[in-house]
């Protein structure tokens, strides 16, 4: 038994008012859905949280028409300085209701309250503040004198950062003068539906933001709707491909933010203790449900043994358990389905001869859990070095020289992010120059900022989100 046992410190869930069932948010009103309602569960306990409506084709059509009407009559013609007021108001309300959002996100997603409280929700509010500032300055975005919105945006977001991905999509779209129909993931719809309440509280004109819940079928209706001008998707590469095929030949604009298999590269002269933290943050943050997760550790062979010893010691201090407990570091896997995928892919690591080591932590009996795990002795030929696991599983590879590190880091179909750990500034710049990844972090990992563009190379997608570049994804230049 440990000397210093931390007593349970659960965040109170009473701040969240859960309804028994939720409808679709269309044209400023909650309405029933034509599909079959589905249940969303708390992945940490398997408890049903609420029943959620499924939008069928007619519902999606209603939502797109509401968005079109709002675009033509209210939001499109509205001066940027007026749109900004609404966005600032939304940002403030999100900050004011941050605790409520954090608890709800943790309940529905399974991520630790520490992260929803200190990372997700603060970033969400920042995203709206940042883009609110752009709304009346679009002519300075470098897209010509009078850039124009695209129209109606169809936005489909994943379950790993439900509210944050909503903010990444909705804030720039609205700032640029578009209206949106957003589909949250079927396992994590609740914070999006609470966001609908924020839109009403901010008195956002009806139809500017519409939220349709459902699974793949609802998404297909939305993407293929003829009156959609822009599709923005964050999720898996296979679904991204399907979307690209669907809209091929139309004049819809598309941004895709897909999977990743990022290399986190540790040189022998790295600031070692901070590099260990960066490895942990890179792969165990949000249970590894992060498209830009540092899921391949490339460590210089001369320090590999030391790094692994330190990493294991550090992993042994990770606290896995009740996501609502303020001291929890690693929460629940979002769904039984995802847990199955992680198990299957990790099993190929065993089969292909890599050595598995898991942090010695007890897994709760109910709910979906996976212990933080590393595989050593992994080579480029292992499936766990090539395929995205999207879970708390790290593949460890070694390299001898900077050139070999670059070669291995780039030798993947993905290219979303990468990390470099070294005390040598010139090496950081040289590596960043050669790494084919949309984001390169130096002596840090998984840092996000609304002013910084984010997006991938190769099968990690195209288009950028965040910053001036992200804004361009929602505007038509007039040059």
């Amino acid at each position: 038994m440990p000397k210093f046992e931390y007593a349970p410190a659960p965040e109170s869930r009473s701040i969240v008012d859960l309804a028994a069932s939720y409808g679709l948010f269309i044209d400023g009103e909650f309405t029933d859905g034509g599909g079959t309602a589905f249940k969303t569960v708390n992945p940490a306990t398997e408890e049903v949280l609420a029943e959620v409506a499924e939008a069928d084709q007619a519902d999606v059509d209603r939502a797109v028409r509401a968005a079109r009407k709002a675009y033509q009559r209210v939001w499109g013609p509205m001066p940027g300085r007026e749109r900004a007021k609404y966005l600032f108001r939304i940002a403030r309300i999100l900050a004011e209701r941050s605790r409520e959002f954090a608890v709800l996100e943790t309940l529905d997603n399974g991520k630790p309250i520490k992260e929803s409280r200190d990372v997700d929700v603060p970033l969400v509010s920042q995203w709206f503040f940042y883009h609110a500032g752009w709304a009346d300055k679009l002519e300075h975005a470098g897209l010509g004198p009078n850039p124009q919105p695209l129209g109606v945006g169809a936005q489909i977001i994943p379950w790993n950062f439900p509210l944050l991905m909503l903010a990444w999509k909705v804030a720039p779209a609205l700032a640029a003068g578009n209206t949106v129909v957003l589909k949250p993931a079927e396992t994590t719809p609740l914070t999006a539906l609470l966001f609908a309440d924020v839109c009403r509280q901010a008195e956002l004109p009806a139809g500017v933001v519409n939220i349709v819940t459902g699974a793949g079928e609802t998404g297909r209706h939305l993407v293929s709707h003829p009156d959609v001008d822009k599709v923005a998707f964050t999720g898996s590469t296979p679904v991204g491909r399907e979307i690209a095929r669907t809209i091929a030949g139309t004049d819809k604009r598309l941004t895709l933010e897909l999977g990743g298999k990022a290399a986190n590269i540790v040189f022998e002269d790295a600031p070692m203790d901070q590099a260990i933290e960066g490895i942990v943050r890179g792969i165990f943050f949000n249970q590894g449900h992060v498209c830009c997760a540092g899921s391949r550790l490339l460590v210089q062979e001369s320090v590999a043994e030391e790094v692994l010893d330190r990493l294991k010691a550090r992993m042994a201090t990770l606290r896995l358990g009740d996501p609502l407990d303020k001291n929890t570091d690693v929460g629940a896997i979002n769904s039984a389905e995802q847990l199955g995928r992680i198990r299957d892919l990790a099993a190929t690591g065993d089969d292909e001869g890599a050595a598995r080591w898991s942090a010695p932590c007890e897994l709760p009996e109910r709910g979906y859990w996976y212990a933080p795990t590393i595989f050593t002795g992994v080579t480029q030929a292992h499936r766990i070095a090539r395929e995205e696991i999207f879970g708390p599983v790290l593949s460890v590879l070694t390299f001898r020289t900077p050139a070999e590190a670059i070669e291995k880091a780039n030798n993947t179909p993905y290219g979303l992010s990468a990390g470099v750990w070294t005390e040598k500034g010139s090496r950081i710049l040289a590596m960043a120059d050669k790494l084919r990844a949309g984001v390169v972090w130096a002596n840090t990992f998984n840092q996000f900022d609304p002013a910084s563009p984010f997006g991938g190379y190769k099968e990690s997608g195209y288009g950028r989100e965040g910053g001036r570049h992200g804004l361009a994804s929602y505007l038509e230049g007039t040059r």
Partner: protein, 301 residues
């Protein structure tokens, strides 16, 4: 000091300031409640080096402080004693008179706090402290020599002081506020441990900033790694600027999660503090009675 040591110090991994401070900030969000808070407060009390280092110290003042260290809460016999009383060398006999063998008596020495005196005078200072009954000596390193790159001098002086200590435990004060960079703190920590320090201590309390959470975290990493490398365990003492129970508990969390629970013991971790003790006592009373009392319910010595 040998050339190998200098080379060894140069090979220590660098410290990334942003990352170190982020780690300290992350650990300070741990929520320590109810039974664990009670346990942590008692542990913290037992780790206090109750300190007075004033020009105006008198026998009466240090006797009162020593009495308080023995029984911090006179209304509650279950309250643990402090770890030690820390005074200037000439005040040691008055402390010893009160505490006998029941507490450690620590004495600063080596021309504390600046350390700017010839070595023989520093050693005489140490010898006087030990002769007067101190079983712990808190020395200061020669920061001037360290910053001038003369690590050999720093090392030799620590070795000499350690020898002068005899069986007394040696705490080596790095004065991290003057070393300024985290890289310097890591290097000085290893230098002091290699020269024989039983404890490494952040500060004299006379220079700002004194103890900070990141600097203490860094020194805890150093003692952890030093034990892995050599098998010898060295203690850590943050001193100066830790005033509240909340802060003390943050330090204990960092000890627990960085160095490990072996260091959660007054033999291996101390707080150099004066006002901290009363806040710990107030919190302790609050935990036991459910009510906040006030400054008149703890003793002022």
């Amino acid at each position: 000091m040998t050339k190998t040591l200098t080379a060894g110090l140069d090979r220590l991994p660098g410290v990334d300031q942003v990352g170190l401070e982020a780690r300290a900030a992350a650990l300070s969000t741990r929520s320590i409640k109810t039974t664990s808070k009670q346990w942590a407060i008692d542990l913290a009390i037992s780790m206090v080096d109750l300190t007075t280092l004033e020009g105006a110290d008198t026998p009466g003042k240090v006797r009162a402080l020593a009495t308080k260290a023995l029984r911090p809460d006179p209304t509650d016999p279950t309250c643990p004693s402090a770890a030690a009383v820390c005074v200037y060398p000439d005040m040691v006999p008055f402390v010893r008179e009160v505490v006998g063998d029941r507490l450690h008596v620590a004495s600063v020495a080596t021309a504390f706090p600046s350390g700017r005196a010839p070595l023989d005078i520093k050693l005489a200072d140490v010898a006087a402290a030990v002769a007067a009954g101190a079983d712990e000596v808190d020395m200061v390193i020669d920061r001037g020599a360290f910053l001038a790159g003369d690590l050999a001098t720093v090392h030799e002086q620590i070795v000499a002081v350690k020898q002068a200590c005899g069986s007394a435990h040696l705490k080596v004060i790095l004065e991290t506020g003057e070393l300024q960079t985290y890289d310097n703190v890591r290097r000085a920590s290893w230098l002091a441990m290699d020269a024989g320090a039983d404890f490494i201590k952040t500060s004299t309390g006379k220079v700002q900033p004194a103890a900070t959470l990141p600097v203490t975290l860094l020194m805890l990493e150093a003692v952890r790694d030093y034990r892995i490398a050599t098998g010898r365990q060295v203690g850590v003492k943050p001193a100066g600027g830790i005033r509240t129970s909340k802060d003390a508990i943050k330090y204990l969390v960092v000890v627990n999660e960085v160095a490990g629970e072996d260091w959660l013991d007054p033999d291996w971790f101390r707080f150099g503090a004066s006002s901290l003790l009363n806040d710990l006592l107030l919190q302790r009373q609050k935990m036991l009675t459910g009510r906040y009392s006030g400054p008149d319910y703890v003793t002022l010595d």
